[in-house]
């Protein structure tokens, strides 16, 4: 596939890895923010190609993982209503709320359907005028243009039986929250390439300056990630702290203006709770007043109990990159994808799930990957 396969080429990737090795003289800790990047790194075993001096930590880049429990409970309660068709991306279906996931709601008779696009949900609403179609809109800025368009179209075409349950999160405030934490060990960021494809990267300039951290806008293929690391390490080794764009084939400095315009028409910035981290000011989106009639939270008011805190899950520390999943005492034993204690184990993009599935475990002091590489 053009513009994918070239960035998965063995020789090119090995060559870039060599360039990183030659350019690294000291240990560095880099954070990649996006769940899609975590997924590629762990799935392709990219860490094997990096020198030991470079530590990649995974940030809160999984909107599924950070969706507040109350929001999932709300979605489940709405899905249980007989008149409702609850539409969602596949990612969200398995995430547990305080007692149930959307999958459970489906098992108990709720009409829960996977869609590829929010426009598919809108189409469902048009073809089912006697039902209420609710779309569970979870995501980063990457997905906001699509969700904004669905609402905009719903209003333009007058589709009264369509509404949206919104839980959108914004990346730059989360990066700042991590950087401002006392225990922050992150020295450089690989910024989420597709988020920047929409929003541009100008908002990272003040962050880079304030905290003196290199920020490299990075893509998702193995070659992209390695080049992003290469560029970040080059900055670190020379004491620079700038914003650079590795993913230049897709990202422009000012981003996608028409998309930003539509987002601003439909949504406004608000405070947002991040599951596992807590509340971060001005880090979420909600529907503007003029579109509030499409807000499923308003249309279907639901009493949701505040979820109780648990002591065992260290999701917050994992999401901030301060612990690896296998540092958690429950990892792989009491907490597995089948019996998750927290969100990062449930979503396929969550760091804990990725580490579990792709084998980065510590058993008897050795990563299971030492078994994989032993005979090669």
């Amino acid at each position: 596939m053009k513009f994918l396969d070239e960035y998965r080429d063995y020789s090119a990737v090995q060559r870039m890895a060599q360039a990183i090795r030659l350019g690294t003289t000291r240990p560095w800790t880099l954070m990649e923010v996006c769940g899609g990047q975590t997924h590629t790194i762990v799935k392709t075993g990219l860490q094997d190609l990096l020198p030991e001096a470079i530590t990649l930590v995974h940030g809160p880049g999984c909107p599924v993982c950070v969706t507040p429990v109350e929001m999932i409970d709300r979605a489940v309660a709405i899905a249980r209503r007989p008149e409702v068709i609850l539409c969602s991306f596949g990612d969200m279906l398995r995430v547990p709320g305080s007692t149930q996931s959307l999958f459970d709601a489906k098992a108990l008779g709720g009409d829960v359907r996977i869609v590829y696009s929010p426009l598919d949900a809108l189409q469902l609403a048009r073809s089912n005028p006697t039902r209420e179609v609710v779309f569970f809109a979870v995501g980063f800025e990457t997905t906001a243009p699509a969700n904004a368009m669905a609402i905009w179209e719903a209003e333009r075409q007058n589709v009264p039986n369509f509404s949206m349950l919104v839980s959108h999160v914004l990346v730059p405030p989360a990066m700042e929250a991590i950087l401002s934490s006392q225990d922050c060990r992150v020295q450089a960021f690989l910024a989420a390439g597709h988020v920047c494809m929409v929003m541009g990267y100008e908002e990272y300039l003040p962050i880079s300056q304030k905290y003196h951290v290199p920020i490299v806008v990075t893509g998702f293929e193995p070659l992209d990630l390695l080049e992003g690391v290469h560029m970040a390490v080059a900055q670190l080794e020379s004491g620079r702290a700038e914003v650079e764009n590795q993913y230049s084939r897709a990202v422009r400095r000012s981003g996608n203006r028409p998309a930003q315009k539509r987002i601003a028409e439909v949504f406004e910035v608000t405070r947002q709770a991040w599951r596992g981290i807590g509340e971060i000011p001005l880090s979420g989106l909600r529907l503007r007043g003029s579109y509030r009639s499409f807000d499923a939270e308003v249309r279907f008011p639901v009493d949701v109990d505040r979820a109780e805190e648990s002591c065992e899950c260290i999701a917050g520390l994992v999401l901030q990159g301060q612990r690896k999943p296998y540092d958690c005492p429950a990892f792989g034993t009491r907490c597995t994808p089948d019996t998750p204690l927290g969100a990062p184990m449930v979503s396929s993009e969550g760091a804990c799930a990725a580490y579990f599935h792709f084998g980065r475990r510590k058993e008897d002091g050795d990563s299971i990957m030492s078994i994989a590489t032993a005979s090669l």
Partner: protein, 346 residues
């Protein structure tokens, strides 16, 4: 900094979920905890695609499978094709030539007779191609709303032709892992017409009877240690089951695994991993290293396995896991699915 918080664990579900049918970890857990524990016997505990047992001096194989696919008709076939080929293939994976099939139907009130005729016609055709008669059957009708249109169960009896025991217990360190052709076509063909995930693109199900390819291996004197057809859960599930039962480690090389351009495009679009996508006309074979080249030659002479390739090998290691070397040279564990693989956008 804000308080770090995480909600209480979710209590384990006491209901059947769709994920229990996914072919991954949850399915296996259901089988072990509910069925195996109740029905225990040695044939069942071998947990192979079919059961092998003796009647006087003759070795027979028996298997059963139920088909619940939606939609009933999809590019490349119908539920009828799956019902015949699936059971024929389970017998083939025991090294058995299919002798006869039964077919049980559960029909939903309101199902169109034309639809039923089409499906039955496709079953008849598939049975002719596989050279197996459908000798007995049953029909029941359930109330509207209780049957998803149509469910089919087929059971099959076969004559074991394999000279040696074919199953996970026969797998040895050093064995070559061969795959009979490109992966993921069936699962993607189904998705291409399932509501909510439609796309254009001519991906046809790979449903096909596999006995002729297996028979060719035996006739050519290839020593076959284990066979498994790749169904729900894809290549990954089959390899994990075998590695776990054989208590050995299997390694595969991603670059060798065949996936067609169309299936690849669909998987990229939907965020699916082809190694977990369902097949209905593909199998994996474990043969000693010394027989691998000959086995590939024989397989490639048969239409159903014309694109057979070697994808990995078996190692001395009791961890019972499958590991993968990625295209770019890194390594990871190829884990069992825990439930269904869902399309993702992240």
């Amino acid at each position: 900094m804000a308080i770090l918080s995480c909600p209480l664990p979710r209590p384990a579900s006491n209901r059947i979920l769709l994920a229990h049918g996914g072919g991954g970890r949850l399915t296996n857990h259901l089988i072990e905890s509910v069925f195996l524990s109740a029905f225990s016997n040695s044939a069942l505990e071998a947990q192979h695609d079919g059961a092998v047992f003796s009647a006087n001096e003759t070795r027979l194989a028996m298997t059963t499978d139920s088909y619940v696919v939606q939609p009933l008709v999809f590019p490349g076939g119908t539920i009828g094709d799956l019902a015949v080929n699936g059971t024929v293939n389970d017998l083939a994976m025991c090294g058995a030539r299919p002798l006869a099939l039964s077919a049980g139907f559960v029909l939903e009130e309101g199902l169109s007779l034309d639809t039923l005729r089409d499906i039955v016609a496709s079953m008849a055709k598939a049975a002719r191609v596989a050279k197996v008669p459908i000798v007995t059957g049953d029909t029941k009708v359930v109330d509207k709303g209780k049957g998803d249109g149509l469910f089919v169960n087929t059971a099959g009896v076969g004559l074991v032709m394999a000279p040696t025991l074919v199953g996970p217990e026969s797998v040895c360190p050093g064995d070559a892992v061969l795959v009979s052709g490109d992966l993921g076509a069936h699962g993607i063909a189904i998705l291409s017409v399932r509501n909510g995930l439609e796309f254009e693109g001519e991906v046809k199900s790979d449903t096909a009877p596999l006995w002729t390819a297996i028979e060719a291996l035996f006739d050519a004197g290839v020593e076959v240690h284990c066979l498994r057809d790749l169904t729900r859960g894809g290549l990954s599930s089959a390899l994990n089951e075998i590695a776990s039962l054989a208590r050995l480690r299997i390694t595969v090389e991603e670059a060798r695994i065949p996936v067609s351009g169309l299936v690849r495009g669909a998987c990229e679009l939907l965020g699916l991993d082809p190694l977990y996508v369902a097949n209905e006309g593909r199998f994996v074979a474990f043969v000693p290293e010394g027989h691998a080249d000959h086995a590939l030659e024989v397989l490639r002479s048969q239409t159903v396995s014309a694109s057979a390739v070697r994808v990995g090998m078996v190692h001395e290691d009791s961890c019972g896991m499958v590991t993968l070397q990625s295209r770019v040279g890194g390594h990871r564990v190829l884990d069992m699915l825990s439930g269904e693989q869902l399309p993702r956008i992240c």
